[in-house]
Structures are given as C-alpha cells and as structure tokens.
Amino acid sequence: MEEKGWEPRIVAFVCNWCTYAGADLAGTSRLEYRPEVRIIKLPCTGRIDPLFIIKAFEKGADGVLVSGCHPGDCHYTSGNYHARRRWIVFRELLKFAGIDLRRVHFSWVSASEALKWRDLINEVIETVRSAGPFEAYRRLNP
C-alpha cells in the first residue's frame, strides 16, 4: 500500500500566540525536524472549526495536527478550553466513523516549547507515516 518515496502530508492548524511562536522558536534555535508539515496560522485554537480538519483530509492531507496554548495560557483566556471540548467530541466522532486516530493529533505547545514542537512534529509525521497514505479518504472523490 505504501508507495515508494511516499511522504505523508500533514496540515497543522496552530494558534498564533503559543504554538506558532513555539514553532518560530524552534527555528530561532535552529532545531531540525521533518519537513512534511504545512502550518496554517489562526488567532486561537478556539477559531478552529472541525470542518477545517475535514477539508484538509479532502484536499489530500494524510494527517492533521491541531495545536494551541496550554490550559490557562490562552491569549484569549478561554479559547483553548472551548477548543478542547470540541476536540473531545470531534475526535470521538472521527473514531466512530472509522478514521484512524493516528491521523489526527492534538497538542498544547507553548511559545517556549521549541523542543516539544520539534519532537511533536517528528512524532506526528512518524505516526501518520505508519498509518500510510490516506487512500480511504481519497477514494471518496468521485
């Protein structure tokens, strides 16, 4: 099933204040991580609609990462709490629909956690790679 030379495509939806800044710090610190991730910046995880994740899969993502501020750290005080609730349900929904949860990742990465970001990205990519190309979703295309 795994094509030769196939690399997973990961879309990361991250908040502007913590995770995006954490990813910037990883750059400033010249940490190295795998390149298969494309970041989409949003003001807050609270802005992230489950449809974003569905759309990313539709457009060929093999995995999705959603990441924001640690609880209590939200720049908007509670956006991440709202997000956390949504994720709890949405994740269960995806699981129930039979989507391999190795493709959907959630994390808190603060602006200072460059190392965590690096390890996270490598790990997420590895996990998604182990799940293989998301052919099942691509087959839904007419």
Binding site: P50, L51, I54, K55, E58, P71, S78, Y81, H82, R84, R85, R86, W87, I88, V89, F90, R91, E92, L93, L94, K95, F96, A97, G98, I99, D100, L101, H105, F106, S107, W108, L120, A136, R139, L140, N141, P142
Partner: protein, 299 residues
C-alpha cells in the same frame, strides 16, 4: 381511546377560550392508514385529532423559526410525547422559543412505531422505534397539560434492537470495518436533506450546506460531500440532540443516523455529564467548557 378523547376535549377548550389559536397534533390522512401532522384552528375540527402508536412525528418542528407561516397563525398548542418535549427545552436554551410562547399538550407514551408502514395494530419489539426501547421519558418532562394519567417509566421491549448495544458493538470493531460500514451508508446518501428538514434543532436560517463562499461542504452526492455533510451535522447536534429519532426515520435511504447521533450523545454525557433536553437552564455543552475537561489525548 381515552387519551384521544381527553386530547380533543383539551384542544377544544384551549381553542374555544382563545388561549391558543392553533393546535398542532396528529390526524389521519385521507387515504391509506397513515398518520400525519394536522393543524387545527377551529374548535369544531378537534375530532380530527388522534393518538395512537403511529404518532411518531416530532411536532415541535413546526414551532421553530423554519415555519414563519405557522407562527403567523398565532399562539400554538403542540401535542408532545416525552421525547418531543425535550426538544422544547433545547429550543428554549438556544433562545429559539420562550416557554410561554407555546402550550404543550403532554402525552404519556408507551412507545411508537419505527415506521408507520410497519404498524399492524400493536407495537412489538420488531416494529418499535429504537428511541422507545431505551426511553426514560414516557411521561413528558415538560408540559402544560398532561393528557391522561402518567404511565410507568421503563422499557418493555425486551429483545428489541438496542441502539446503545449496537453502538457498543460498532465501537468494538476495528476502525477499518467501521469506516467501511459508514462509507457504505454515506455513499448512498442522496443529499435530499430530509434529515435536516425534519430535525427541529436544524433551524438555521442558512444551513452550512447552502453556504457557498466558501463551499465547506460539496453539494454533490458523492462520497466526499456526503461524508462532510453527515459528519458536520452529527457534530452540530452533539450535546443538543434529544434522540427524537426523526432524522433516521425520514431518511429515504435508511442511513442509521441514530447511531452516530446517540454515539455523540454518549460521548457528551460521559465527558461533560450533560444530557440534552432535560432542563431549559444552562447552555448546550459545546459552547461552554470546564477547566476539568479531559485532555488525555492532547499532547
């Protein structure tokens, strides 16, 4: 039937006293032996009202913002079963309705049929609606007038299809099988939106499916669009769905929507200790949060 008589009496009384302008209830259709929603405005028509196990529709649908012409008819009384009454609580929670805007004629219910054509004079474990098998609101939790005596709670449909068990069994399967199960169903979806149209909680002025800048959900009835539509609808009902079961009943291609909606209800109850429809205070669980929400899946 006793309840039927009492229902008609109450309806007549309400209409005659002008307490309401309209009674939304159930009545026979002209042909066949089907039951359909009826709108009674004159006291002399109250005898069209009936009550039997074929009265499956959730009539609170007609008091939502989707029916401005029904609203224009004046103050309504609505015949509600326990499950239907729960909808009213959610509608109140969501600012769609004020309690005093409607008179609820609560009917203690001992089970209705899944589909009318299956009814043969008796509700059996084969033809009973799945919601009734696990029902805990035989007596409406909310009403203005109770039609007849209360009945004993608890389900009597031993051996009938149990939605929670089915969910559990589906949960146990490997995800590949679950995916195949749902894709087989979703691919058959014809995007008639009957699920949405019959749902009293799908009251959006403009459904996300009709939004085209951007078009989040493809309107074509192909796998991609169908999955997006069905997942989005399930997500939007999470923590709100009261399990009236109407969407699955209305689905012309038999997609087991109850499974997905009740699965999320279970998740919501487990995670946030919330059961929609039992009270009108508070907020739907997905727009509030708790500092203690679980996050074992978040890294």
């Amino acid at each position: 039937m006793d309840r039927e008589k009492k229902l008609r009496e109450k309806a007549r009384e309400l209409l005659e006293s002008k307490e309401v302008d309209l009674v939304i209830g159930y009545g026979w259709t002209r042909y066949g032996k089907r039951v359909a929603p009826v709108f009674i405005t004159r006291p002399e028509d109250v005898d069209r009202l009936i009550w039997n196990p074929m009265c499956v529709n959730n009539l609170t649908l007609y008091i939502t913002r989707k029916y401005p012409d029904v609203k224009a008819m004046g103050r309504p009384a609505v015949v509600v079963k326990g499950c239907d009454a729960k909808t009213v609580n959610v509608l109140i929670q969501e600012g769609q309705l004020k309690r005093e805007d409607v008179v609820l004629l609560g009917i203690p219910c001992e089970g209705v049929v899944y589909r009318q054509e299956l009814y043969d004079g008796e509700v059996t474990k084969e033809n009973v609606s799945p919601k009734c098998v696990v029902c805990d609101v035989k007596n409406p939790p909310l009403y203005d007038h109770l039609i007849g005596e209360k009945v004993e709670e608890g389900s009597g449909f031993e051996g009938a299809r149990n939605i929670y068990q089915e969910i559990e069994e589906l949960d146990k399967k490997p995800e590949g099988e679950r995916w195949a199960f749902w894709m087989e169903h979703f691919e058959r979806c014809i995007r008639c939106y009957a699920c949405r149209q019959i749902c009293p909680l799908c009251y959006c002025e403009r459904c996300i499916a009709e939004k085209n800048m951007p078009q989040w959900i493809d309107t074509s009835a192909h796998g991609r669009g169908n999955v997006a539509w069905n997942l989005k609808r399930a997500m939007d009902l999470a923590g709100r769905c009261v399990f009236c079961g109407e969407c699955e009943r209305a689905c012309p291609v038999n997609i087991p929507l109850n499974l997905i909606n009740q699965k999320l209800s279970m998740v919501v109850e487990e995670s946030f200790n919330h059961r929609p429809g039992y009270e009108s205070e508070g907020h739907p669980p997905l727009i509030v949060y708790s500092l203690e929400d679980r996050e074992d899946f978040i890294r």
